[in-house]
């Protein structure tokens, strides 16, 4: 396919015609490499700063790499603020929110994709409709709800209301289920499987790629979410890493903790970045197959 495409886009791709094309490609590579460097710089700069000793952080001249690399910024960050608690809260909230979203999304997606019942379309519309309700609109009433439930400063206060933003995941899973052949579902039914068993034994094993993507996207989203946890988590120990960034930032001028600050930022960055690097192929392929093809 690749060779066909090449010949097709370049009908005269013999001899002389190749040269402008190569130059064009070289130029494209150059521009993209420059952009990549600009993209990476803030993160590399964070990494470099997190290993610098204070005198190197506050030096006058430009010093890209730490001359005497140190790990001391990490324990120091843990001393100033409860960073360990923040890390743990981030992890717990991300994992539980993701599991919760999967648990409510999978059966609903199956019902919307393959089951016939009264109000099917209405329910699906209600779920998709949440995508046009901006999250900001729900903050004040949800804050009242959460404070009535005594969930302020708890992980539950962040997790439970976040479950409502699962419309996109339901949509993704539904689209994936619709690509499964109806025959295997009919066969299960003829063999006497109930709807529940069909979901558990037939559908679930066949939609693993979609579930992997939903898991990753949901984990990233929960790990990174900022505004809602900022409102709910007021107590220093109950914060997440993303919210903790604001604590560092509001103390940045007075405390000058740039080293420990960047060390904490590294802690907040590494899990999502690792996850992405390992799963990027799956993420891309799901975008292509899930109906957002073009």
């Amino acid at each position: 396919m690749a060779s066909v495409a090449r010949n097709a886009t370049q009908p005269g791709a013999v001899g002389a015609a190749r040269w402008p094309r190569r130059i064009g490609r070289g130029a494209a590579h150059t521009v993209v490499i420059l952009l990549c460097l600009v993209t990476l710089f803030p993160m590399l700069w964070m990494l470099s700063t997190s290993f610098k000793i204070p005198t190197e952080v506050f030096t006058r001249d430009i010093q890209i790499l730490p001359r005497t690399p140190t790990l001391l910024n990490f324990p120091e960050a843990f001393q100033y603020f409860p960073v360990a608690n923040w890390f743990w809260n981030s992890l717990l909230i991300a994992v539980v929110t993701t599991l919760g979203k999967l648990a409510i999304s999978i059966p609903a997606a199956f019902a919307f994709a393959r089951l016939r019942f009264r109000g099917n379309n209405l329910c699906f519309a209600a779920v998709l409709g949440t995508m046009i309700v901006p999250a900001v609109v729900t903050y004040v009433p949800n804050y009242i709800l959460v404070s009535k439930a005594n969930w302020i400063n708890t992980n539950w206060g962040v997790i439970v209301p976040s479950l409502a933003s699962c419309a996109f995941y339901i949509f993704l899973i539904r689209q994936y289920i619709r690509t499964l052949p109806q025959e295997i579902l009919d066969a299960a039914k003829i063999d006497g499987a109930s709807t529940w068993k069909t979901l558990w034994h037939i559908v679930l094993p066949n939609i693993r790629p979609a579930l992997a993507v939903v898991t990753i996207l949901s984990f990233l989203h929960s790990w990174n979410q900022y505004t809602w946890p900022l409102l709910v988590l007021d107590n220093m120990k109950s914060k997440t890493l993303a919210v903790g960034m604001q604590v560092f930032a509001s103390n940045s001028e007075s405390a000058q903790l740039w080293g420990p600050m960047m060390a904490t930022a590294v802690l907040a960055t590494v899990p999502p970045l690792l996850l992405y690097v390992f799963a990027q192929k799956q993420i891309i392929s799901t975008f292509v197959t899930s109906g957002m093809k073009g």
Binding site: H29, V127, V137, V243, M245
Partner: protein, 329 residues
């Protein structure tokens, strides 16, 4: 249960089991099991959608309705009484200079970020397209997408360090070139642009990915036919590729317009706190200050409804436009 369904579907006469069942007197227990099975089969779809409907109802639609109610009252979260004030929460906004500045900021963010987040990734995708088979391309994708997977607050913190007036690398570099240092974040003219830079840096990769996937889905036959007819690169884009990726283009456009107010909140909160003099504030930040700093619940609810109305209108306009002008491949 498996027994029950055999009994129920025992239409086939060669199923010895079924014929025997007909001959025997009706087994009450089996009928009961069959009825129970049928009941649960009827109920299952509802049970499957019930949790999500409940969650969405309580945490998305109920807040919407409750916001409308709250917007007619003067309340501060803790007071036992809510005082009915009619439309005062809305009319008060007209006279609030802070609201005006927030609206102006919203406009600047939209005018700067929507084109940047919709068109830049498209250009980038077209740039990456000819070299999509090269080995370096995977590295490019991973790199350009990487800011998307980190938190907005972390991104803001990284740039806070870069923009730092005394020790920040940006000022050090421009100082080396002989320019005066700039207080990027405390200067009323530059603060909002710092937030905009962070937003562009953070979001460009996601839309790039969507565009690349869309370009991938354009059938090769079309491209082949067009090039046989001698179409130039620009014609190829304007007449073939762009019409075929318009659904993605509009998806990106709509989601960007909707999310732009929301997504800069983290950066504003970490980097500028809306300042100086509300010059980098926007409507979401105004809502946050009203609702969660000075506890004007009524006013915050009124603002949230304005945001909802704006979003709903934009979405509707976009969908109408898409219906009329978008070609689905």
């Amino acid at each position: 249960m498996a027994v029950a369904i055999e009994e129920g579907t025992a239409g086939a006469p060669d199923a010895g089991h079924g014929t025997r069942a007909l001959a025997e007197p009706v087994d009450r227990r089996r009928v009961f099991a069959w009825n129970r099975y049928r009941f649960w089969e009827k109920a299952t779809p509802f049970l499957f959608v019930a949790p999500v409907i409940a969650i969405v109802g309580v945490f998305t639609y109920w807040p919407l309705i409750y916001s409308i109610w709250l917007s007619f009252f003067d309340w501060n979260f803790v007071s036992p009484v809510k005082e009915f004030v009619g439309f005062a929460n809305f009319t008060r906004l007209v006279d609030d200079p802070r609201f005006h500045r927030a609206l102006w900021g919203t406009l600047v963010y939209i005018l700067a970020l929507v084109p940047a987040q919709v068109l830049l990734p498209l250009g980038l995708a077209l740039l990456l397209w000819p070299i999509r088979r090269s080995r370096a391309q995977a590295v490019y994708r991973v790199t350009l997408f990487s800011p998307t997977v980190i938190s907005f607050s972390v991104a803001a913190l990284l740039w806070l360090w870069i923009f730092n007036p005394l020790q920040g690398i940006l000022n050090k570099v421009i100082f080396e070139f002989g320019f005066a240092k700039v207080s990027w974040l405390s200067n009323p003219n530059t603060a909002i642009w710092c937030v905009i830079v962070v937003s562009i840096w953070k979001t460009i990769g996601f839309n790039l990915l969507l565009y690349l996937a869309a370009l991938e889905a354009v059938p090769n036959d079309y491209i082949e036919a067009a090039s046989l007819d001698g179409a130039s690169g620009w014609q190829m884009f304007r007449l073939i590729r762009f019409p075929l990726i318009t659904p993605t283009f509009f998806f990106v456009l709509v989601t960007t317009i909707i999310s732009v107010n929301d997504e800069v909140f983290g950066a504003i909160n970490v980097m500028t706190d809306g300042g100086p003099f509300d010059r980098s504030s926007n409507i979401v930040y105004y809502l946050y200050e009203q609702g969660f700093r000075i506890f004007q619940i009524g006013s915050a609810s009124a603002v949230s409804l304005l945001i909802f109305a704006g979003t709903a209108i934009l979405t509707w306009v976009q969908f109408r436009f898409v219906e009329r002008h978008v070609h689905y491949g």
